[in-house]
Symmetry: C2
Subunit: 355 residues, 2 copies
C-alpha cells in the first residue's frame, strides 16, 4: 500500500513525539511492505515564528494532498500574549474548520499495567472502556456574533452557540455507527433543561436512534455526566456531545486512566481525510529534554492505520508492542517512579524492537 | 433575634430533609433565644400540580417577605415530559432571576470520618478545602435568542452566551472577598482561547485583582480545570467561573468528597435576601422512605445562620453537632454499609441531641 502522511509536529514536545512515531511507522512500512511518504507542514507557534500565521496556506495544501494527518501539539507561553489571530491554537481551530474535521474521537481505556496511576481507586477504573465522540466544528467555537456589544445601554459581550441540524445529525450518526460495533450503548450528553440547542439535539438523537434498533440511547445532562465520569465510569460505552461540553468532559475523562501520556485521538471528516493526535498538549516545560512520553502519538498513528488505511493487522501490531513494552515495566518520566524513567527515544526503540 | 425564613421544600426528598432541618432550627432558636418564623411556599413540580406553574406569585411574595430562604429540591420523572415552561426546574431558574441570586457558593471540604467514601484515593482528597463561586443569573442560561432559526438557508438552532460587564465584575468581587478571608488564592476559570466573553472575563478579573493586592489571581482554562479537579484538588482555594462552566465543574467537584449527601450551597443576591439549599437533587427513587440524608440541608441552614443572620456561634453549633454524629459512626443509607443505616429522622434526632 502507498500512502502519503502529512506530519504537523507543531510546538513543544510535538516534534519529539512525532519523530519517534515516524520511526515506528517506517518500521511498520518495511515489515508489512508498504510505502509511506511523509510531508512536513508548519502549524501553531512554529508557523507563527516562521510564516507569521498559525496555519499557513502551504500547510493546508500539504494536508489536502495527503491521505491522513498526524499532529503533535500546539501552544506555549511564548505566544500567550499574542493577539487572538496570532495564537498557536487558532491554527488548530482553523484546520478543523478548513478540513471539516467534525468528529473528535477519544478512546478512554485503562491499561492493566497502569491501573495504579489513576487518582481514582482501582475498583472504579478497572475495566473502563469507552469512547467520547465530540462535535468539533460547531457550537460556541465558531458561532457569530462573538464580540463586545452594548446591551440595554450597558457594556456587554456575547458569544453564540449555533448548530445547523445536519451538523447535529452527522455527529450522532458517527456515535451510533461506533456504538453498533461496540457494546451498543450511546449516552448523549446535553443540557436540555436549559438550552434550546440541546432540545433539538435530543430530538435528533431520538430520530437517529430509531435507525439503529439494536443500539440503546440514553440522555444525560452535562452536569450529571461530569459526576458520573468519576462516580461510575464503567457505565459508559459511547458518549456523544457538542463541542464545548465535549472539550470539558473529554479532558475530565482523560484523568480517569491516570495516564494522559497514553491517550490518542482522531478527528474525522466526511471527506475521508482524517487527523490523528495525542490528547496531551505541547508541555513546553519538558520540551527538548528527551523525556516526553511518545506513546499517545504512536497509538494515534495506530488509529490512523486502522481508520484511514484499513490496516487492522498493522494497527494491532503497534498496540501489542506498546502493551508489551509497558508490561515489561518500561516507563517514561510521567509514569515512572523517581530515577527509573526511560527516555522518549529509548521507549521508542523498545516499541520498535517489540513490533 | 427575630427572623422570618421562607421554606420551599419542593419535590421528592425535599420535604423530608426540610422537615428535619426545621426541627434543628427550632432547637437552635430555643437554645439561643431566637424567634424564627417559618413561611412555607410552593415551588417545582409540587407547585405545578397545585397551582399550574413552577413558581407561583405567592411564593415570590413569601420569599420577598422573608430574611432568608431554604429550598429542598425540585424535579422528578412525573413532569419530565411537560413543555419547558411547566418543568419544575424552571421554577428554580425563575426564582434565581427574580431575586437576583447571582452568586452560587459551594464549599467542597472533606470530612475526616468519610475520607474512604470518595472514588478518589485518600491521598488525593485528604485536606481538600475549596469553594466554587458560580455566576448564576447570566450566560447561556438567560441569553436571547434561544430558538430555532433558519441559518444560511438551513434548519438551525441558536443559544446566546451574554454577559454585561457589571455582572462579570460583581461575581469576581464576590470571589475575591471570599478569598481574602481564606487562603487568598482565586482560580478564575474561562475559555479565553475560544470565547470573547472569556476574554472580557479575564480583563475584568485582572481589574478586580488589582483591588485585592493580597489575593493571588490565577487563570485556568475550563478543560484544564476539569482535569485539575481530579488530578490535584488540593491546589484550589476559591474557584470562580461563569454559569454553565460552574454548573459542570461544581457537580464534578461534588464527587471529590464522595459524600454528595453532605454538600450545602448558598445563592447570594445583592439585596441581602439569600437562598440556601443542598447540592443534591430531589432523588425521587428514595422519596418518602425516610432514608434520605438530611445533612446537606442542615448544613445549608448553618450557612444561612452565619451568612444571612451573622449567627456564627449557632452555625458552629450545628456544624459541630453534625461532625460529632458522623464521628460516632451514624450513617444514612447513602453512606452506610449494608444494613447499618439510620433513618432520616433518626439522624436528625441524633444531631439535635448533639447540639
Ligand atoms: C486548544 C483548544 C482551542 C482546543 C479546544 O478547545 O478544542 C483543545 O483544548 C482541544 O481540546 O483540542
Ligand atoms: C436544575 C438545573 C436547571 C440547575 C442548573 O443547571 O443550574 C441545576 O443543575 C443546578 O446546578 O442548580
Amino acid at each position: 500500500m502507498k500512502k502519503t502522511i502529512a506530519l504537523l509536529p507543531g510546538d513543544g514536545i510535538g516534534k519529539e513525539v512525532v519523530d519517534v512515531t515516524v520511526d515506528i511507522l517506517k518500521a511498520i512500512a518495511e515489515h508489512f511492505h508498504h510505502q509511506f511518504q511523509f510531508n512536513y507542514g508548519l502549524i501553531g507557534g512554529d508557523a507563527i515564528d516562521q510564516k507569521g500565521t498559525p496555519l499557513p496556506e502551504e500547510t493546508i495544501a500539504i494536508c489536502k494532498d495527503s491521505d491522513a494527518i498526524i499532529l503533535g501539539a500546539v501552544g506555549g507561553p511564548k505566544w500567550d500574549q499574542n493577539p487572538m489571530e496570532l495564537r498557536p491554537e487558532r491554527g488548530l481551530l482553523a484546520l478543523r474548520k478548513e478540513l471539516d474535521l467534525f468528529a473528535n474521537l477519544r478512546p478512554i481505556k485503562t491499561f492493566e499495567s497502569l491501573l495504579d496511576s489513576s487518582p481514582l481507586k482501582k475498583e472504579y477504573v478497572d475495566g473502563v472502556d469507552f469512547v467520547i465522540v465530540r462535535e468539533l466544528t460547531g457550537g460556541l467555537y465558531f458561532g457569530k456574533p462573538s464580540e463586545r456589544i452594548v446591551h440595554e445601554g450597558e457594556d456587554a459581550v456575547v458569544d453564540t452557540l449555533l448548530y445547523k441540524r445536519y451538523e447535529i445529525e452527522r455527529i450522532l450518526v458517527s456515535a451510533f455507527e461506533i456504538a453498533s460495533k461496540r457494546r451498543k450503548h450511546v449516552t448523549s450528553v446535553d443540557k436540555a433543561n436549559v438550552l434550546e440547542s440541546s432540545r433539538v439535539w435530543r430530538e435528533v438523537a431520538e430520530e437517529v436512534a430509531a435507525r439503529y434498533p439494536d443500539v440503546t440511547l440514553e440522555h444525560m445532562l452535562v452536569d450529571n455526566a461530569a459526576m458520573q465520569l468519576i462516580r461510575s465510569p464503567k457505565q459508559f460505552d459511547v458518549i456523544v456531545t457538542e463541542n464545548m461540553f465535549g472539550d470539558i468532559l473529554s479532558d475530565e475523562a482523560s484523568m480517569i486512566t491516570g495516564s494522559l501520556g497514553l491517550l490518542s485521538s482522531a478527528s474525522l471528516s466526511s471527506s475521508g481525510l482524517h487527523l490523528f493526535e495525542p490528547v496531551h498538549g505541547s508541555a513546553p516545560d519538558i520540551a527538548g529534554k528527551n523525556i516526553a512520553n511518545p506513546i499517545a502519538t504512536i497509538l494515534s498513528a495506530a488509529m490512523m492505520l486502522r481508520q484511514s488505511f484499513g490496516l487492522e493487522e498493522e494497527a494491532k501490531a503497534i498496540e501489542k508492542a506498546v502493551d508489551n513494552v509497558l508490561n515489561a515495566g518500561n516507563r517514561t518520566a510521567d509514569l515512572a517512579e523517581d530515577g527509573k524513567a526511560v527516555s522518549t527515544k529509548q521507549i521508542g526503540e523498545e516499541i520498535k524492537n517489540a513490533l
